[in-house]
């Protein structure tokens, strides 16, 4: 067992979790202890070494300054939200009157507890996902959203995870379980943020979703933490018959940032739209691994990821769509486009289609390009500065995906912060913030 694996188990022992979570925690700890630590020869981690994690010593859980976390820029200050700071629930920063469909594990009633025990750790395959095993071992609290059959969650729910500096590096677990019964509807935004100061913490996040038959699920997950923070996370979804998921994700880079999406088409006629944007810069890394399993016929996947990779940063994209023998009449498209804005930037991209059915329509592709010098000249010849022209072209590259993000408030927020996300210090994107797009429609 590696040193980090031992540390992580020691941290699990320090926790005081409710007894009813013990089975999950124990099996997680066992899996974690038995797992082989990834090396460069481990395919899943080939381009993403875990060295930053191994080099940081995590001794104890955090005791965060909750008030400090209140300084972050909320995406939608009016929306219902639960806020966690370094893994600890922050009641003062969260909404007073949360929808009845939402509860923390710590406060779950008997029925909710039964639901958690039924699904938590069941959507994710913790044999295949090492850090899911760790998440299980570390589960002491979390959020359950359960929307009963035919009902609709009123307004989007924000689950915000804020990282703040502590005296020494601290880990944090974040666990979210969403259960939509048949015909239910919900929109959830997961916002990972941090205060501006440097912090060498580690966030291990895991989201599991059960989308029932005919249910509609809208999901955004944005990872906008400060660049010293390590984040390994996963979103694991089972889609029921004729269900629909519209997913959007965005990540800035950090010392180590790895996000996995695992979506399983389990019921016929399910539809998935999954769009992602990654924007590493400086010396950061972002790694998105996605895997969509088409197990049954007549399902649809439309997956598009685009990255803008600047400075000396690196991005990894591995998108796999697996079409099982029974999954006839599948429609699946996977596209990954990358824009390198510096000579030192690097991307490793690998779109994969595995098809074992014969009556399907599938496409996949990846491109890597640079900013078009002719387009830059055209913009400059109209008086637009070089820097602003670069931001505009970069924006153009990802705008299509931003427009399809399921929450309008998030779209507007991202537009406003785009210059910061692209690493531009000045207010270069003022024209993007004027509501011109809105006033046109």
């Amino acid at each position: 067992m590696s040193e980090f694996q031992q540390q992580a188990l020691e941290l699990a022992r320090q926790q005081q979790a409710p007894d009813w979570l013990a089975p999950l925690r124990t099996s997680g700890a066992d899996q974690w202890a038995q797992a082989a630590w990834p090396t460069r020869r481990t395919e899943q981690w080939k381009y993403t070494p875990l060295i930053p994690l191994q080099k940081t010593w995590f001794n104890r859980w955090g005791e965060p300054d909750l008030a400090q976390a209140g300084s972050i820029d909320w995406i939608d200050p009016e929306a219902s939200r639960l806020v966690f700071v370094n893994g600890r629930f922050a009641a003062d920063l969260s909404s007073n009157d949360l929808p009845a469909e939402v509860v923390r594990f710590a406060e779950a009633g008997p029925e909710q507890r039964a639901l958690i025990e039924q699904h938590l750790g069941q959507v994710v395959d913790s044999e295949r996902h090492l850090f899911a095993a760790l998440s299980n071992a570390w589960t002491d609290d979390g959020v359950l959203l359960h929307v009963p059959a035919g009902q609709q969650l009123s307004g989007p729910l924000y689950v915000v995870h804020v990282s703040t500096p502590e005296a020494e590096p601290t880990p944090a677990g974040q666990r979210l379980l969403i259960v939509l019964d048949s015909g239910a509807q919900a929109s959830v935004v997961e916002h990972f943020a941090s205060t501006a100061d440097s912090q060498s913490g580690f966030v291990n996040s895991l989201t599991e979703v059960v989308v029932g038959d005919n249910a509609r699920f809208r999901h955004c997950r944005v990872h906008l933490e400060q660049e010293d923070l390590i984040h390994v996370g996963g979103v694991h979804v089972n889609l029921g018959r004729a269900s629909h998921m519209n997913g959007f994700t965005l990540a800035q880079g950090s010392r180590l940032k790895r996000i996995d999406y695992q979506i399983n088409h389990r019921g016929e006629g399910a539809e998935l739209v999954l769009n992602g944007i990654y924007l590493p810069r400086n010396r950061q890394l972002v790694d998105y691994h996605t895997n969509v399993e088409h197990c049954v016929p007549h399902c649809t996947t439309s997956e598009t990821f685009r990255g803008i990779i600047g400075d000396s940063s690196r991005a990894v994209f591995n998108g796999r769509i697996h079409i099982h023998p029974d999954a006839q009449k599948t429609l699946a498209e996977l596209s990954n486009k990358n824009l390198l804005t510096s000579d030192r930037a690097e991307v490793d991209t690998k779109p994969e289609l595995e098809i074992y059915a014969d009556d399907v329509r599938c496409a996949h592709g990846a491109t890597v390009s640079q900013l078009d010098p002719t387009a830059l000249y055209y913009l400059q010849s109209r008086g637009i500065s070089r820097l602003e022209a670069e931001v505009m072209l970069s924006f153009g590259f990802i705008n299509e995906l931003l427009r399809e993000a399921p929450e309008p408030a998030l779209q507007a927020w991202l537009r406003r912060h785009l210059n910061v996300l692209l690493g531009r210090p000045e207010q270069l994107t003022r024209h993007l913030d004027t509501g011109i797009e809105d006033s046109l429609s």
Binding site: S381, G396, T434
Partner: protein, 249 residues
């Protein structure tokens, strides 16, 4: 307003302009004609400071400033506008955002406040009407999927919004049908004022029936080999460019 003296320029290792001199005063329209490969488009690229086009000799003054010292965007803000022969498509950036960024940049340069979205929308819509462009094109990506005529209308729209001092039209007539040619020319003619100069680069005399020049220059092998009035254009149309070879030699 614009004074080009003995300008020589290269693209890579190839010399394109040799010892070219041209002076444009406010209110004047200069047509530059010439065979393919004469350096007509290079002139526009040099005047707007395009990367890869290197000045190897001579000088260019614009309103008393050394133009060659300025960046592309500074030249634009000072009032130089090039209507592209092949306008560039920029997917994902709406035409409206692009136009506002350009107008704002110019206004900031001249110490004026940015226009509000509402003010700008109004201005853009009115200008659209003038060039007979459907307002739907404001919402679309810059030139994205525009026809040849729509692209050229969009160039004139930009020109009208930016109100430049010197307009350079690079083969604006290429690929235009009569309707588009008419509305593009109407736009240009509406902008002819006593304080604005034009350089109209064209291969064919046809455009000059719509935009009447004060002077016509023939560019061949990188230098102006003949200058005259609009009658010269008619002569060229009748005789072609071949007869000038003897005069160049």
């Amino acid at each position: 307003m614009l004074s080009i003296k003995n300008l020589s320029a290269t693209v890579g290792d190839t010399t394109i302009l040799r010892d070219l001199s041209l002076s444009v005063k406010p209110g004047e329209v200069h047509a530059i004609m010439g065979p393919n490969g004469a350096g007509k488009s290079t002139l526009g690229n040099i005047l707007t400071g395009r990367e890869g086009y290197d000045v190897t000799g001579g000088s260019v003054e614009f309103d008393g400033k050394n133009l060659l010292e300025l960046d592309t965007e500074e030249r634009a803000r000072e009032g130089i506008f090039l209507a592209f022969q092949y306008p560039v498509e920029i997917p994902g950036v709406s035409n409206m955002e692009f136009l506002k960024a350009a107008v704002d940049a110019k206004r900031a340069h001249h110490g004026q406040e940015e226009l509000s979205s509402v003010e700008f929308m109004k201005l853009a819509r009115e200008t659209c009407k003038q060039v007979r462009m459907d307002q739907a094109f404001l919402k679309r990506g810059v030139n994205e999927g525009f026809s040849g005529g729509e692209k050229k209308r969009n160039e004139i729209l930009q020109m009208m919004l930016l109100e430049p001092r010197l307009c350079i039209l690079d083969e604006t007539d290429s690929g235009l049908d009569i309707d588009a040619l008419q509305s593009v020319s109407d736009g240009v003619n509406a902008m002819r004022t006593a304080d604005r100069g034009f350089i109209v680069v064209t291969h064919y005399q046809r455009l000059l029936d719509y935009i009447e020049p004060d002077f016509v220059h023939v560019l061949a092998k990188g230098r102006i080999v003949k200058s005259g009035t609009k009658e010269l254009a008619k002569e060229l149309e009748a005789k072609g460019y071949g007869w000038l070879d003897s005069e160049v030699a």
